[in-house]
């Protein structure tokens, strides 16, 4: 045990002391934050309203199309004689040209949309929704329904709330989906980064031939476990740093935001009532979301995340260690041998996609129980709520799978690490597992 501890310490410190560790640990959050900022900036930028110029030959839709839409503005005009559609659009500084042909027999005939580079799906659906709505009202009026009745029909959208039967708390499928997806995906990345780290470490020891020196002092199993645990601790350290960075940023924002509020209420700002209203509206929209986030069972989520992080990491790290021990100096060989280990991870992420849509389908349940996919899939299910028996069996299966996988990997590892030259065949590897 003492020697395993020495190995853990070495694996941990040589990695943590490296400059690359510091750089990736600090740079990655900045990179991710920057990426999010960039994406939202681009999203905001593309939210500039598009101008639709409408030539309505039927005369029926004029001034009826919604002009308060977030994304589309409308004007009504018509091209000059001999003016091409392109020139017309340019003259009007418009993006889309909507041409409504005259009615035939009191029925709409054709509607044509022109746009440079083709029409986007959202523009098409906006236009078709608007036109349908307006025409429906006309049809209802024709059928003898009066204006008041029509308005009440149109405003009858129902507010739906969802509750979890178990604890009678309000749930939000959107938030569950976002959380499930991000946690599952995080697991996927963790397994790949740190699992591959274990593999590279084993390969380094094998190709440097230091494995032989060390194995004359410690058991191969100790060397393997020391490496897995040491690198696992590196991962945990990185996480703790990230979490504390996030906590720190949260604190900073808490301190800064009251000041911002105060600034908003300063006399200059108070003049603009519009701004006030917008602010209130925003609060109204965000509060339920924050409420819902706070309602999540954070104890369960954090506990589950830690457990599946460790379980998932260990089960895959053992497999990656075995793979590393089989590789000779050829990096291509490593790629080939990694494939069987990567496949279940990729399956996990595929099942996760399905799970997010339907967390209780048989595929999702299987995926969250099977130890090679459960670290990814179960984390996707947890925000939706998981029956206790499934959670417990998943945990037990993962522990069992981890023990079995480590046992098998240790057998491959201890022979593989000392074999040089020819790549062993599958048959030989199976023999190593059986024979020792």
């Amino acid at each position: 045990m003492n020697k395993t501890w020495l190995i853990i310490k070495r694996e941990y410190w040589t990695r943590v002391k490296k400059k690359t560790f510091l750089i990736t640990t600090l740079l990655l959050p900045i990179l991710v934050a920057g990426l999010i900022a960039l994406v939202s900036y681009l999203a905001v930028k593309s939210e500039q309203k598009q101008l639709i110029v409408i030539q309505d030959e039927s005369g029926f839709f004029i001034n009826k199309i919604d002009s308060t839409d977030e994304f589309y503005k409308t004007i009504y005009s018509q091209p000059k004689a001999n003016e091409s559609k392109k020139d017309f659009l340019e003259r009007k500084h418009a993006d889309i040209f909507l041409h409504i042909l005259p009615f035939k027999n009191n029925h709409p005939d054709s509607v044509i949309i022109y746009k440079e580079g083709g029409v986007s799906l959202s523009a098409k659906s906006f236009i078709s929704n608007e036109l349908d709505k307006i025409y429906q009202i006309k049809q209802m009026q024709d059928a003898g329904i009066n204006k008041v009745q029509i308005d009440s029909i149109n405003n009858s959208a129902m507010a739906i709330k969802s509750y979890d039967l178990e604890n009678n708390k309000e749930t939000s499928s959107e938030i569950a989906m976002a959380m499930g997806y991000s946690m599952g995906f995080l697991m996927y990345i963790i397994i790949f980064i740190y699992g591959a780290g274990v593999m590279r470490g084993v390969m380094e020891e094998k190709t440097n031939r230091i494995a032989e020196v060390i194995i004359s002092s410690v058991k191969p199993f100790q060397l393997m476990m020391g490496k897995i645990l040491g690198i696992g601790l590196v991962g945990l350290t990185q996480f703790i740093i990230w979490l504390s960075l996030m906590g720190f940023m949260f604190l900073v924002s808490q301190i800064v935001s009251p000041q911002m509020n105060a600034a908003m209420h300063s006399p200059i700002m108070q003049n603009s009532e519009m701004q006030q209203q917008a602010l209130e509206q925003m609060n109204g929209e965000f509060n339920p979301m924050i409420q819902n986030l706070l309602h999540q069972n954070w104890g369960l989520i954090i506990g589950a995340f830690l457990f599946y992080f460790l379980g998932g990491y260990f089960i895959y790290a053992a497999m990656f260690a075995a793979v590393g021990s089989l590789v000779n100096e050829d990096p291509q060989e490593a790629q080939q041998l990694t494939l069987p280990v990567s496949l279940p991870i990729i399956f996990g992420i595929i099942i996760l996609q399905a799970t997010i849509k339907d967390p209780n389908s048989p595929l999702s349940i299987f995926g969250s129980l099977f130890p090679l996919t459960s670290p990814i899939v179960m984390l996707g299910r947890i925000p939706y709520g998981v029956p206790t028996w499934q959670l417990i069996s998943s945990i037990l299966l993962l522990i069992g799978g981890f023990i079995l996988m480590t046992w098998i990997s240790a057998k491959i590892y201890r022979t593989g690490i000392l074999m040089y030259g020819k790549k062993p065949t599958l048959k030989e590897i199976i023999k190593w597992i059986r024979n020792s």
Partner: protein
């Protein structure tokens, strides 16, 4: 000190070690010889506890060998040297010494002693990747002996060393043996064996083909050849002459009387004898003879 009884180790297709037994006395420098692929490394891996023999037993200090118990007393320098390239040399030395069971302070004392002794003090903050091949070889030797092993196993310790450093390491090996360490020395470089080893075992294709102390092996394989250098023709002993180069004769005698007869003749004829010497075969000759005898050629063809 170390006793091997009927060790057998089989890998997938071939017997790497096939029923080998030998014993090594305390303080002895023992040579393990054999051509490439003879099974030397497989044998050493069992003695160091890296692999387990399929059958047979290893007795270490009158006890059955146990890695967990005896690894502390063994220093092993494998043929394929290995060190962490990116680790600082001082940290690396500390790590390996601690893995051998030394405490931090013990390890530090020993490392300082050896670094000073082999003139490596200014290396401590370097990384292995900054060292030349010979330097890292020297470092590896230090890391092998740093915990005062009772049994030192060196697989080709001189490969890659220049004559100067070879000499230094050789003297250290003698010194260690004098202080009671037992040394197993594996090589296929015969001139080194003759110089260093007291006893040898020669293996080929996993089997022991020759073992004993160096002197008696040479006696055993001597061809009774003698070298004689005189200043005149040697007449009347033609049936003894094997070759003649100027006045230098290689002679073969079946017994000592024949030799004395030649010398008597020279003295009576007042021929001046400048050299008369029994020619013992070099280990190299014995080695090639024996290995060829057991058809080692097949190895090179494979």
């Amino acid at each position: 000190m170390l006793k091997l009884n009927h060790l057998v180790k089989t890998y997938a297709t071939q017997k790497a070690v096939d029923d080998i037994s030998f014993s090594v006395k305390k303080g002895c420098i023992f040579g393990l010889l054999g051509p490439n692929g003879a099974g030397k490394s497989s044998l050493l891996r069992m003695v160091t506890g890296i692999t387990m023999p399929d059958s047979g037993e290893i007795i270490f200090n009158n006890e059955p060998f146990l890695l967990s118990k005896h690894s502390v007393q063994i220093g092993y320098m494998p043929e394929e040297r290995g060190l962490y390239k990116k680790m600082k040399i001082s940290e690396q030395a500390m790590y390996l010494a601690q893995l051998k069971g030394l405490s931090r302070s013990e390890a530090q004392t020993k490392i300082n002693y050896w670094f000073k002794r082999l003139d490596m003090q200014n290396w401590e903050n370097k990384k292995v990747e900054d060292l030349s091949k010979g330097m890292s070889q020297k470092l590896q030797f230090v890391l092998t002996v740093v915990h005062d092993p009772k049994l030192l196993i060196l697989d080709e310790p001189f490969s890659g060393l220049d004559p100067l450093n070879s000499e230094i390491i050789k003297n250290e090996i003698f010194e260690l043996a004098k202080n009671g360490s037992t040394i197993i020395f594996s090589t296929h470089r015969m001139e080194q064996v003759e110089e260093i080893c007291e006893e040898i075992i020669l293996i080929n294709k996993g089997k022991s083909i020759l073992q004993g102390d160096v002197k008696s092996i040479k006696e055993q394989f001597k061809l009774n050849h003698f070298k004689l250098v005189i200043n005149n023709e040697l007449i009347g002993f033609e049936h003894h002459i094997i070759s003649k180069k100027g006045n230098e004769y290689i002679l073969h005698f079946n017994n000592q009387d024949d030799a004395n007869a030649v010398l008597n003749y020279c003295i009576q004829q007042q021929i001046k004898i400048s050299c008369f010497q029994e020619l013992l075969p070099s280990l190299n000759e014995i080695f090639i003879n024996q290995v060829e005898g057991s058809a080692a050629r097949q190895f090179t063809n494979n």
